[in-house]
Symmetry: C2
Subunit: 390 residues, 2 copies
Amino acid sequence: MKFLHTSDWHIGRTLNGFSLLEEQKYAFEQILSLAKQNQVDGIIIAGDLYERAVPSAESVITFNQMLREMNIIEKFPIYMISGNHDGAKRLSYAKDWLDYNNLHLRTSLEEAFIPVETKETQIFLLPFFDPMDARIYFSNQGLDEEDTKQIKTIDDAMTLVISKMKSQFNNKKNQVLVTHFAVSPHKEEIVLTSETPSKVGGLSTLNVSQFADFDYVALGHIHTRLASPSDKVQYSGSPVKFNTKEASTQKGIFVVEIKEKMLNSNFLPLQVKTDLVVLEEEWEQLISRDFYERQPLNKAWFAITIKNFDRTKLVGQNLRAQLQKIYGTIIELDYQFEKKQLTRSRSQDIETLDNVEILSSFYKFTTGETLDDVQTAIIESTFNELEGEK
Amino acid sequence: MKFLHTSDWHIGRTLNGFSLLEEQKYAFEQILSLAKQNQVDGIIIAGDLYERAVPSAESVITFNQMLREMNIIEKFPIYMISGNHDGAKRLSYAKDWLDYNNLHLRTSLEEAFIPVETKETQIFLLPFFDPMDARIYFSNQGLDEEDTKQIKTIDDAMTLVISKMKSQFNNKKNQVLVTHFAVSPHKEEIVLTSETPSKVGGLSTLNVSQFADFDYVALGHIHTRLASPSDKVQYSGSPVKFNTKEASTQKGIFVVEIKEKMLNSNFLPLQVKTDLVVLEEEWEQLISRDFYERQPLNKAWFAITIKNFDRTKLVGQNLRAQLQKIYGTIIELDYQFEKKQLTRSRSQDIETLDNVEILSSFYKFTTGETLDDVQTAIIESTFNELEGEK
């Protein structure tokens, strides 16, 4: 079986207030082309279909149109689940009718145990859920109260879930799991020297070893494929860049083929419609013709940090307006203060930093090192989860 | 062809803050039974499926479950449209997949012109729309600007819509229209003696003569069947009582059969789960055992008006609490003041009256007569439309 693996479409998302809808549509058209070129047997979307639990009417129409093109017009079977951003209950509307046309959507834990069966493959669709959902489900299944109480972390719940899935395994077929969680790579597991062992990512993170019995695990939740624990258990990442930290990241999808338990997985890149350019320069540089004429003026989105910013020299000037006149769309404008101002401004600045920035400053302060992309992605997804609507 | 005609389910509606969901489910089970007993060929729901454009997750689940039972389990074809309360764009999600299983939902004007065809019948599904939607549609269809501007009222728009539908008529079949508007009976049309002719109901009301070429028109919008313009063009009314003015109304559905252009329509009543009892009595009567022991205490919902209410005599008493202790659920508590207080209290009272009550007082004040059920229904639906989310 050959399929296309994508995730985290987040239809309706904005980047600093700028709609990403055109970017998302552009990525979608490429995904559909790649599905056709590669003659895949199905398309997997591993959760976070929408940005919000109650998506706007425009988002609903856009996503519906994408599903129509893939499933009704091009006849691709679709395998998809709700993520933590999706409103599982609302999304479940009309699910039974979708199944008639090989559009398989699962939005609750209890639906995860009966796989979609193709000739060669069993596809288990496990939507995002939390330990409390698992307590309720297994308690209804007759698990006794003491054992139910032992389900504290998502890892505890997953052990039970996968054990139950395995009872459905048909050994003549391959098993694919589609799910939506933070999964940490086994190799990076850290046991602290203190008496309490601890895992990277904490209580809401799963260990990759949970998934050993599947031939492929198509993950969603973390927006970069670089956070993938292994080739068999991997994130496709989002098809679109959702923030300026991803400016230099290559987005894409996986085309995965499983033949007699052999896995062949290829990452295929997606092009952006509008480039995202990050500039960190001093003010004089930013407004010098020699510098800016080398930039894709009025064609890209610019995220600009003014280095060694000295308020006193630029008093009364509308900096954003000046930059917009030169560059076009400025989606982010930051200021890096001169060192002499740093002490004074630190306590003020913390008010304007987001959680990830605060944590990454703290990390740098305590370890002297900078967070890498994977670490940043895990932290971001954890904050998203904490703040997100379920 | 034999079908069941219902409308205005308004899933998610409350009555003075009391959820009507259990009442709605009870009505639904009876509707499904009647469909089975009468072996209908399809079920028509003529709009206002939900109470709100953005229904709650609970409403979505409930309505989805009802559709499942009718269409997936019992295999009834469904013919339904969006009403003014429904969010047409959101509701259109997954529509194409529903069609595969004979669940036909139309939510926009442009979808109304291709009927659903059965062996004997063409069913035109015309959702609620406004004159501006019609201007846009007919302008896109090549109607010239001057003619487009002439579409001012819904009646203007309907003339064009029905003329276009007629071009699709197959004379060997019957034609049924499902739609969602206020339609006034021809016989009550009033032409004022002034130079400007005027129609009952104003700009947002259609004249029944528009529909002369259909064999049956299944209407939604007005909640009582008593407002039906004719046997061929009729309102089923809502399956549930939505306010205390409807306490003594018999709710139900129509089973309609069309055989060789002959129409046979039967109104079949629905039972309520919880009775709605309206009492207008003086305080002493309300709390007298002789009186209240004849009431269905703790079994019904009570709407109570205390007649000849004299504040001075009952100062410091919690009247609602006393009545609840006797009667159970009090969903409405009103006060009718003694005549001597009337002048003083009128200006205060108007703040607490709803629009329909204000208008009906004004009608009584100016004409000396009381609004009848049909008039009240039309006024209510007009206010709903003005206040409603489209």
